[in-house]
């Protein structure tokens, strides 16, 4: 009996410790945001979503016209996170080995020729894949394994990537010449596709003023990899009711026009729907978002808000939608409206 009581008290203490972590979560998020704002003006939603993706452990594809701060944001994030950061500027002549690294022949201490693996820029915790669509599909495909499984296989050797690992890629939606659209499999590996919009006049003024002083990023490191992993673990404990979970699944399955239960808009405008990874991403990121909003459960609104960045690169709209001048986000809005909440 006495042991039981002691155990109970120990559980209480553990709970208290976890509660302390919950408290730290918000403090860390606040710190990351504060630092990022030093280098990035505006783009609040983008910043939030990038943080969500990082905590959730997902890769992010940033799409936007040149000069809106995509690369700067990622570079600044690399500074803030105090993690090994590398940048890969994707070009048409970039080879997969340029990304993953390669086995090279070299002499050892005894002067004998031996093969050794030289790590490519992908071996970092935070990788900026700048203008990723400029590389050939061959090189792009080299990213598939590392983005999903966080490891690199070269020859017979498998090289694990240190956690946490994120790829933040950028692409330009208007310059289509000399670019290679990302294959669907790779797109699916990005948890979010974020559209970086042109800043408002007010933000633009601040951007100009800020760059008059220095073009360098000034953000400092405030959080390490361990802490991010702790935050991810904590976020995974956020409660999701079965109904909200079911709603997220319905939303994803509702994007498949081949399914009977899909939404009317899907049947009309969608060519093919999102993969199951979308459902995983929705719930995982919704948990982080809930916690960032100071809640301990996932709501329908969390799912709805995250449906855009999660689904927009995972579904393909058909010619009818284009003909009707509808974008992906418009179709997603329709799907959200047509998907009934589970009660």
């Amino acid at each position: 009996m006495e042991n039981k009581i002691v155990n109970k008290e120990a559980e209480v203490n553990n709970a208290q410790a976890q509660l302390d972590k919950v408290k730290d979560f918000s403090l860390r998020v606040a710190r990351i945001k504060d630092e990022l704002k030093k280098d990035v003006v505006g783009q609040e939603e983008i910043i939030d979503n990038v943080i969500i993706a990082i905590v959730a452990g997902g890769n992010v594809l940033l799409e936007g016209v040149p000069g809106v701060g995509k690369t700067r944001l990622v570079r600044s994030l690399g500074r803030v996170l105090s993690l090994p950061f590398s940048r890969i500027q994707f070009t048409p002549d970039l080879m997969p080995s340029d990304v993953t690294g390669a086995n090279i022949v070299e002499k050892d201490e005894n002067g004998k020729l031996v093969t050794s693996f030289r790590k490519g820029p992908i071996f970092a915790n935070l990788v900026l894949a700048d203008e990723i669509n400029r590389a050939t599909p061959k090189t792009q495909s080299a990213m598939l394994e590392v983005m999903q499984e966080h490891k690199v296989t070269v020859g017979n050797n498998v090289h694990k990537i240190a956690e946490p690992f994120f790829v933040l890629a950028t692409e330009n939606p208007i310059e289509q010449d000399g670019t290679y659209p990302l294959p669907e499999a790779q797109m699916d590996r990005f948890v979010f596709k974020l559209i970086v919009k042109f800043p408002s006049d007010e933000d633009l003024v601040n951007i100009v003023k800020m760059t008059q002083v220095t073009l360098d990023e000034t953000a400092s490191s405030v959080i390490g990899g361990e802490e991010i992993l702790e935050m991810r673990k904590l976020a995974s404990e956020v409660l999701v009711s079965d109904e909200v979970l079911m709603y997220a699944i319905k939303l994803v399955s509702g994007t498949h026009p081949e399914l009977e239960k899909s939404c009317p808009s899907t049947k009309k405008y969608v060519k093919y729907g999102a993969s199951p990874r979308a459902g995983q991403a929705l719930i995982t990121c919704a948990k982080v978002k809930a916690l960032m909003d100071g809640r301990f459960n996932v709501s329908y609104d969390d799912i709805n808000e995250l449906a855009y960045p999660v689904l927009r690169h995972r579904i393909k709209i058909n010619f009818t939608a284009v003909n009707d001048k509808l974008g992906v986000d418009d179709v997603i809005s329709m799907i959200i409206k047509e998907t009934k909440k589970v009660h």
Partner: protein, 537 residues
């Protein structure tokens, strides 16, 4: 500081509160958790709303059932007692309550969704309810967070959706009930009376026969001429006119005119009415007694009054052993005053009655008062005797007067006049009855002239001596004196008629014998009239 910081601050600073610790240890029951997160108060509120809606609907249907049944019964559409409406009200209520209460039931899950939506709780409530048995730190934090959120929300903020509709239905029900109560039950209406078809009226055979019988009765009566002939003529003319008309209104008018004429003719057959009115108007103790004499042929009270007055003086006189001349003179004057008082008003009334002094009743009454035989003023004659202190003689004089022919002749004259009244008024009243015309109010001169049957007795007779009259045309009170022609003396009428009744009841007379007896009594009555005539001579 973001939202999370704000929300979490209290938890972080206070660490796990007692509820949290208790919850974490698994010592908190589901009920306690529901109360803790504020779910219970909303549930109670929603239960109240559900109950109110159910009660309103139940009342509405019960009222409607009751009201409709009341309306149907009161309008005679449904022929049952209105009290059955209470039964229907109870039945409707008993059926409606479960039919409404059960469908309005809700599960905790449904209520949780409702609360989440209505108060934008971001699915906290239903997530928390789904994790009642989950005591993880996140679950505890969720409860804590939810508690703080629901504390700011009053339970009454849960909108009772559709309540106005329920209230409207209840009002309709109430209105139906009030209508049902307000409607007056229609009593079964009697069939409308058959319309009087004035134009299609005709004198029936029965009416014609009745009028003919009235004419015959008047014709055969001993009514004085020419009044009798006039009445007969009037009625015969009426009969002819009625047979000639086919309008009921005209017929009634004819009858009314005829009976008024007949009443006037009848009134003129005797002076008794006018004299009675005049004497009665004087209203002294002696005139009152004399008026009674005219209505009830009761002379007793008048003479008793005189006797009493004289005896009073006599006794006063007897107290004096040897009255002086002055005392005797005073007593004489008192007596004269008394007798004058008893006579003067009567004489004055006779003179004021408007009746001719040659009228039989007038002259007889005048003689009664004035001792007409010797033409001496009655008062003086009696007063002289009294003046000589011969009261005994005076009393004897009064008695002889009472028994004299004058009184008897007055009785005979009254009987004759009353018969006229009885015949005349009887005929006109008979006509009135035939045509449903109200009888006029007459002075009760013919109280004992009701034809056959017993009189009710003298209502104003203080000593209850008058017992009424008997037989057709008989007008005398049964306790009155009647002059026996054969023995030349007065006897009590009652004795004669009692014997007459007994004989008529007990004996088995043949029709001839019965007729003979009746004739005897008619002769007896005739004797009065003859006596009167002799007096007149």
């Amino acid at each position: 500081m973001n939202n999370f910081d704000k929300e979490f601050q209290s938890v972080g600073e206070n660490n796990l509160n007692e509820v949290g610790k208790k919850s974490y240890r698994g010592n908190m029951t589901e009920k306690e958790i529901k109360e803790f997160i504020g779910f219970a108060k909303f549930k109670n509120r929603l239960f109240s709303i559900r109950l109110i809606k159910t009660i309103l609907t139940t009342l509405a249907f019960a009222f409607i059932a009751c009201g409709v049944v009341l309306i149907l019964t009161k309008l005679d559409v449904w022929n049952i007692s209105p009290w059955f409406s209470l039964l229907f009200m109870a039945l409707a209520g008993a059926i409606t309550f479960p039919c409404v209460f059960l469908p309005l039931s809700f599960t905790d899950k449904k209520l949780a969704y409702k609360l989440d939506e209505e108060f934008s709780l971001k699915e906290k409530m239903h997530t928390s309810l789904a994790n009642l048995d989950n005591n993880s730190p996140m679950s505890i934090l969720l409860r804590q967070d939810l508690k703080e959120a629901t504390e700011k929300i009053e339970a009454r903020k849960i909108k009772a959706r559709g309540l106005p509709v329920y209230i409207a239905v209840a009002v309709i029900g109430l209105a139906t009930l009030i209508t049902g109560l307000a409607i007056k039950q229609e009593k079964p209406t009697p069939p409308p009376p058959p319309p009087i078809d004035d134009a299609g009226w005709s004198l029936s055979d029965e009416q014609a026969l009745a009028i003919e019988e009235l004419i015959l009765a008047v014709d055969k009566s001993n009514m004085v001429s020419p009044a009798k002939e006039e009445l007969v003529k009037k009625m015969e003319d009426l009969l002819v006119s009625l047979k000639a008309t086919d309008d009921y209104g005209v017929a009634c008018d004819l009858v009314l005119a005829c009976v008024e004429d007949m009443d006037e003719i009848t009134y003129k057959t005797g002076s008794r009415g006018a004299i009675y009115e005049a004497i009665k108007s004087k209203d002294t103790e002696f005139t009152r007694e004399l008026a009674r004499m005219l209505t009830r042929t009761d002379e007793t009270r008048y003479f008793i009054k005189l006797h009493d007055a004289l005896n009073s003086l006599k006794h006063e006189n007897e107290k004096l052993e040897e009255p002086t001349a002055e005392q005797q003179e005073a007593m004489k004057n008192d007596t004269i005053t008394l007798l004058s008082f008893a006579s003067i008003d009567v004489i004055s009334a006779l003179e004021e009655s408007g009746v001719d002094s040659s009228d039989s009743l007038y002259s007889l009454l005048y003689s009664l008062i004035t001792f007409n035989k010797n033409g001496i003023y009655g008062v003086g004659t009696i007063g002289e005797k009294l003046g000589n202190l011969k009261y005994g003689w005076a009393s004897i004089q009064l008695d002889s007067l009472k028994e004299s022919m004058i009184v008897n002749n007055i009785y005979a004259e009254l009987a004759r006049q009353n018969e006229n009244y009885s015949v005349g008024y009887g005929a006109s009243d008979g006509l009135r009855e035939l045509f449903d015309i109200a009888k006029p109010q007459r002075e009760d001169l013919t109280e004992e002239e009701k034809g056959e049957g017993e009189g009710s007795g003298a209502e104003e007779d203080d000593d209850q001596s008058g017992a009424g009259g008997y037989g057709p045309g008989l007008i005398l009170g049964t306790d009155e004196l009647i002059f026996d022609e054969e023995h030349k003396q007065t006897i009590i009428t009652l004795e004669i008629y009692q014997k007459y009744e007994e004989i008529m009841k007990k004996s088995d007379f043949t029709p001839e014998e019965r007729k003979a007896i009746e004739q005897y009594f008619e002769l007896l009555l005739k004797g009065y009239e003859e006596g009167e005539e002799e007096n007149g001579k």
